[in-house]
C-alpha cells in the first residue's frame, strides 16, 4: 500500500503510524493503491490536502501499478469509471465531461426545451416536466440531461439541489440496475452512467451536496453497484467535510444586507483575539460628521493596551480599503495601524542556572520584567506593523473613517490626548462617488493632527488643493 500524507504546513510526509498525525481518512480507490487525507495535530484545525496528494518528498504515480489484466483493462478502458470518479482523474485522463463529445451536434436537438424567454427555476422545472410529458418513453433522456446541465447556469439553478434531483429523476427506473456481477463489473449502460456521473460532477463543482433522496433515486436507477452510486457516496462523505472545514462558518446564504455582512466580516477578522469586542457605531453620535452611516468596529482590550503604549510623536495610520470575501460577496475594510515595534531586547539568561527559578514568585523580577524574560508579542504585533483596530463603514468614505477615529477615542484616551493619525486612502477601490477629490492624489498623506482647526490649511503643503474635508478638529 502506498500512503501519501502531506501536512500542508510542515510539508512533511507522514505515515499513519506517526504519532502527531491525528487522523487519517482513507479513500479507497484501488485495493493496492490508497490515497489519503492528512491532518496535522500540531497545527490545530483540519488541514485539507487535495486528493491525490502530490508532494516533492513522495513519488507519486498517477497510474496505478497494474497487477493483472483486469486492472489494466479497467484503467484504460475508455469511459471507465471503475476506479476513478474523482474530478482530478477527470482532468488528467479524460477529455472532460462527455458534453464536449463530437456527437454534440446531434444532441443539440434537446436544447430546444431550454430556450424559454424567462429563465428562472420555475421555467427550468417546467421544461423538465414538459419533456417528461412529451416523451413518455423517455427517449433521448441522456441528451436531454446534458442539454439541461448546459443551460443550468443561465437559469440560475446550478446551485439548487432540488433541480439536480429532479434531473436525476428523469432517468428510467430499475431497467439499468445490473443483475449480475458481469454487468456490475463491465459498465452496464455506460452512456447513462457517464451522464449521471457528469451530473454529480457538476454538483461537486458548484458545491452542492447530494442528500439521502438523491441516493435513493440513484438506487432506483442504477442500483448500488454502479459508478453514480459510488460517486454519490464519496461526495456525501467528503463534501460535508469540505463544506464544514472552515473555522469561520457562515450562514447559508450569506446575508445580503451590508451591515450584517460587515458584522460577520469584522467578527471573522477579530477571531484572532478572543478578547475582541465588536461595536456598531452610528456616526450621528459624532458632532461634525457629514456622512450619516454606521461603522462596525473591532478592537480588543489588548489592542487598547497597545494604543496606550504607542510613542507620542509617531503617527498612526488608517490603511485600506482592502477586500474581504465572505463566499462570493466582498466588502471593504480599514485598519488602524502603527509602525512595527522593535523586537524586544532579550537579555540572555543562563538557562543552566536553576537558582533563577524563583523568578516567578519574586516581586523584583516577575515575568513582566524586561530584563530576564520578555513578553511574547501579541498576535496584533506583526512584522509590518501593529494592528490597533479594524472597521467597516457604511460608505467607506474618508469622513466616516474620521468619525470612526473619533468614536474610538472614547475608549482609547491616548487618541483623545493627541496621538496623530494619518489617513492613507490610496487604493483605487475606494468609492469614487464619496471622495472624488482625493482620488487624484493617490500618494498623498493627509495628516490629522489633534488640535488642528478645520479652517487652517497653510501647514499642509502636500495637499494644498484639498478641501477642508481632509482636516478636521
Amino acid at each position: 500500500m502506498m500512503f501519501a500524507n502531506v501536512c500542508k504546513f510542515c510539508k512533511q510526509f507522514h505515515t499513519c503510524k506517526t504519532s502527531h498525525l491525528l487522523s487519517l481518512s482513507t479513500l479507497k480507490i484501488f485495493p493496492k493503491h490508497i490515497y489519503m487525507k492528512a491532518y496535522c495535530a500540531s497545527h490545530g484545525t483540519a488541514i485539507q490536502v487535495n486528493l491525490p496528494v502530490v508532494s516533492q518528498n513522495v513519488p507519486y504515480h498517477p497510474i496505478p501499478i497494474q497487477q493483472n489484466i483486469w486492472q489494466s483493462l479497467s484503467t484504460y478502458f475508455k469511459g471507465s469509471r471503475h476506479l476513478h470518479t474523482s474530478s482530478m482523474h477527470e482532468m488528467k485522463f479524460r477529455k472532460g465531461p462527455s458534453m464536449s463529445n463530437p456527437d454534440e451536434e446531434k444532441r443539440l436537438t434537446r436544447q430546444g426545451y431550454f430556450k424559454a424567454d424567462v429563465r428562472n427555476k420555475d421555467s427550468f422545472l417546467i421544461a423538465i416536466d414538459v419533456y417528461k410529458e412529451q416523451e413518455k418513453l423517455l427517449r433521448g433522456h441522456v441528451e436531454f440531461i446534458q442539454a439541461a446541465l448546459k443551460s443550468m447556469e443561465e437559469f440560475g439553478v446550478h446551485k439548487d439541489l432540488e433541480v439536480y434531483k429532479k434531473l436525476m429523476d428523469v432517468f428510467p427506473k430499475v431497467k439499468m440496475i445490473p443483475q449480475n456481477i458481469w454487468q456490475a463489473e463491465f459498465d452496464h449502460y455506460p452512456i447513462q452512467q457517464d451522464c449521471a456521473v457528469d451530473l454529480l460532477h457538476r454538483m461537486e463543482t458548484f458545491g452542492v451536496i447530494p442528500d439521502a433522496e438523491m441516493e435513493d433515486i440513484i438506487l432506483m436507477v442504477f442500483g448500488s453497484n454502479s459508478h453514480p452510486m459510488k460517486k454519490c457516496r464519496r461526495m456525501n462523505y467528503w463534501m460535508h467535510k469540505f463544506a464544514n472545514a472552515s473555522p469561520w462558518p457562515l450562514p447559508k446564504p450569506v446575508p445580503s444586507e451590508v451591515l450584517e455582512l460587515a458584522k460577520l466580516a469584522v467578527a471573522r477578522m477579530c477571531s484572532v483575539d478572543q478578547a475582541s469586542e465588536i461595536t456598531v457605531f452610528d456616526t450621528a453620535e459624532v458632532k461634525d460628521a457629514i456622512d450619516h452611516t454606521w461603522i462596525v468596529s473591532g478592537q480588543s482590550i489588548h489592542q487598547r493596551e497597545l494604543v496606550n503604549k504607542q510613542p507620542e510623536n509617531v503617527p498612526l495610520k488608517v490603511e485600506g480599503p482592502w477586500k474581504i470575501f465572505l463566499r462570493e460577496q466582498s466588502i471593504d475594510y480599514f485598519v488602524l495601524k502603527a509602525d512595527p515595534l522593535p523586537s524586544p531586547q532579550v537579555e540572555q539568561m543562563d538557562k543552566d542556572d536553576v537558582s533563577l527559578i524563583g523568578l516567578l514568585l519574586n516581586p523584583d523580577c516577575s515575568l513582566k520584567a524586561d530584563t530576564a524574560i520578555t513578553i511574547r508579542p501579541s498576535v496584533h504585533e506583526q512584522k509590518d506593523g501593529t494592528i490597533l483596530a479594524i472597521c467597516i463603514t457604511g460608505t467607506s468614505s474618508r469622513d466616516s473613517l474620521l468619525s470612526w477615529i473619533r468614536l474610538l477615542s472614547l475608549s482609547n484616551p491616548r487618541l483623545e490626548e493627541g496621538l496623530p493619525v494619518i489617513f492613507l486612502q490610496a487604493s483605487p477601490t475606494a468609492s469614487d462617488e464619496i471622495v472624488p477629490a482625493d482620488h487624484s492624489s493617490t500618494s498623498d498623506e493627509k495628516k490629522l493632527e489633534a488640535g488642528d482647526m478645520p479652517t487652517t490649511d497653510g501647514q499642509d503643503a502636500s495637499s494644498g488643493k484639498n478641501e477642508d474635508s481632509n482636516k478636521y478638529k
Binding site: L22, S23, L24, S25, T26, L27, K28, P31, Y39, T45, A46, W70, S74, H82, D169, K173, V174, I177, P178, Q179, I181, W182, A184, E185, D211, A212, E213, E215, D216, I217, L219, M220, G223, S224, N225, S226, K230, R233, N236, Y237, W238, M239, H240, K241, F242, A243, N244, P249, Q274, A275, I301, H302, L360, S366, L367, K368, I375
Partner: protein, 639 residues
Amino acid sequence: MLTSKLLKNSSIWKCSTICGRSVSSSQTVDSAKAQTKAATYDDRTSIQAAPKKLGKLEPFVKNLFLGRFDKSVLAYPMALDRERHDTLHQMVVPIEKFFLEDLDSAAIDRNAKIPPEVLQQVKDLGLYGMQIPVEYGGLGLGATEYSRLCEIIANDGSIGVTISAHQAIGFKGLLLEGSEYLKKKYLPGLATGELLAAFCLTEANSGSDAASIQTRATLAEDGKTWLLNGSKMWISNGGTADVMTVFARTEVDGKDKITAFFVERAFGGVTSGAPEDKMGIRGSNTAEVHFDNTPVPAENVIGEVGKGFKLAVTILNSGRFAMGSTTAGVLKRGLGMTLDYAFTRKQFGHTINEFGLIKQKFASAAVNIYAMESMAYHAAGLMDSYEEYDTAVEAAIVKVFSSNQGWILGSELLQIMGGLGYMKSYPYERYLRDGRITLIFEGTNEILRMFIALMGLQHAAPELKTLVQKLRNPFNNPGFVIKTTLRQIRDRNDRPKLIHDLPGYVHPSLKESATSLEYCVERFRFAVQIILSKYGLDVVKPQHQMDVVRLGDMAIDLYAMTSVIARASRAYCDGIHNGEHEMLLARTFCKEAEQRIRRLMSGVQNMGETTDLEYSAIADMLYSKGGYAAQHPLTVEGW
C-alpha cells in the same frame, strides 16, 4: 465484481451504513426486490418521513457483564426525523431567550422563592407538559427532545427542579401505568400547569431504602375509599403541589405491599410543613407533607394495588437520563463564561488562558462534558428508537457520571475564576450550590453505583452460574479447568484475546480508541468472573461494597467510552463542523477511561494493591471511638 468487492471491503461504506445518514442506505438495495416494486421515488419519500421504531433492544450495559457487546449501539442513534428536528430547534429559541435573558435567577436564589409571574411564563412556554402526549394537551416530546429542553431549563436550578419534580417523577406514574380515567382527568391540567405535581416517596426513616416506608393506606368500610396516614419528608414541590403521587403500604392477601396513589390536596387531610431552607436550588419548594386520614377514591390507585414499589423504581429509573444533558447544559455555559474571563485576566504579563494548568482544566472540562452529553443523548436516543428497551442501568450511569463530573468540573471552573468565583455578587457559586443536589437526589450516587454493579451481576449470574460453580471448585472440575486454561491464562496475564472487531464498526481514525474499548470490555468480563467467584452469593453484603462497586465504576467508563466513540465516529463520518475536534475529545476520553479501568481492574484482580482492608479497619476504629481517633499532634508522652 471488483466494484462489489470494493463496496464490501471498504470500511468507509461500513461506516456510512453504520452512521446511518439516510434511512435508505441501510435498507440497501436488493436489485431484484427493487425490480418487483417499481415505485417512483416520490412514493418512497412518504415512507422516509416517519422512521419506524425498531423492535427490542437488548440491554447493552447488562450484556457487557457477560462479555457481550451489541455493536448496533456504535451507530449513534438518530432518534429525530427531520420534521421533529426542525420543530425542536424552533422550540428552543424562545425558551433559550427566556432562560438566558429574561430570568433573574439571582433574585430567585436570594429570596428563596420563584415569583408566580415567572412560573406563569414557564407554563406558557409549555414546559409543564413536555412529555405528556399531544392528545392530553402536552407537547408530546420524546426522551431526546426532553433532554434538549432540560439542557436550557437547567440554567436556573430552582425552576429546573420544580419542573422536573413535577413531570420527571411527579406525574410520571400516570403516564406509565395510569388508567385512562386518571389520564383524562388530570393530564390536561398538569400539562398547562394548572395542577402542580409532586412525588412522595421519601420518609424520615426511609431514604434510599424505599421499600421500608411506613405511610399506610387502609381500605375504608365502604370498600371504595382508601384512608391515607403518615408523613413524607423532603418532598420537592411538597408545599405547593396540588396533586401528588403517594406511595403507601397496603395489605394485600395478608401481606404488606406498597401501592401508588394519586392524591389531590383537595381530598382533605393533607398538610405540609414550612419550606426547608437549603444550600442550593433555593427557589424550589421542599417541604414535609402529612396525611391524616386522607380519603383517596379507589380509582385513584395508579396501576395495580400492591405493585407500587416496582412503579416507584420504574419512575425513578426513567427520569434519571435527563440529568446528563441538564448538567452538560449548565457546564457548557459555565465553561463559556470562564473562558471569557480567562481571556481578559492578565497575570505575570500573560492572559491566564495561556497557562498550562488553566488549559488543563478547560480541556478536561471539555472532554468530560463531551462524554456526559454523548451518554445522555445516546441513552435518550436508544429510548426513542426502540419499542422495547431496558435502559435502567444506562440511565443510572448517566446520572452518576454527570452529577459527579458536574461537581468536580464546576469546582475546577470556579477555581479558574479565583476569588471572583467565590463572591456572591457573581452567579458562579450559585451554579455550584445548585449542582450539589444532583449527587444526592433521585438516588444517591453511592446507591446507584452499587445498583449498576448489582443489576449487571443479577443479569449475568444465571448464565455464569455453572461457570462460577466450576471456578469455585476447580478440583472437582478438572476437565473444565483444563479446557478454559488458555483463556484463563490470557485473562490473568492481562492479554485478553480481542474478538469483537469493534474498530471495524467505527471510522478508521478511531481504531486506537475502539481497540482500547474492546480491551476494556474483555477485562470487564474477567472482572465480573473474579468478583462472582470471589464472593458468590455474598456480593450483596455491605462489607464487600468497596470491591463490588468497582464493577459499577468500570461499567460507567465502558458505557461512556462506547457512546463517545459512537458520537465522534458519526460526527466525523457526517463531516460536521469541528468533527476533527470531536475525534480528539473522544480519543482523549478513551485514553483516560482506559487508565481508570486498568487501575480498577488491578484492584479487583489483586486485593493487595487496594486499601480496602485498611479503610475497613480505620472506619471500624472510628466507629468504636465515636470520632477521629488519632491523638492531637501536640500530644507528647513521657515528659
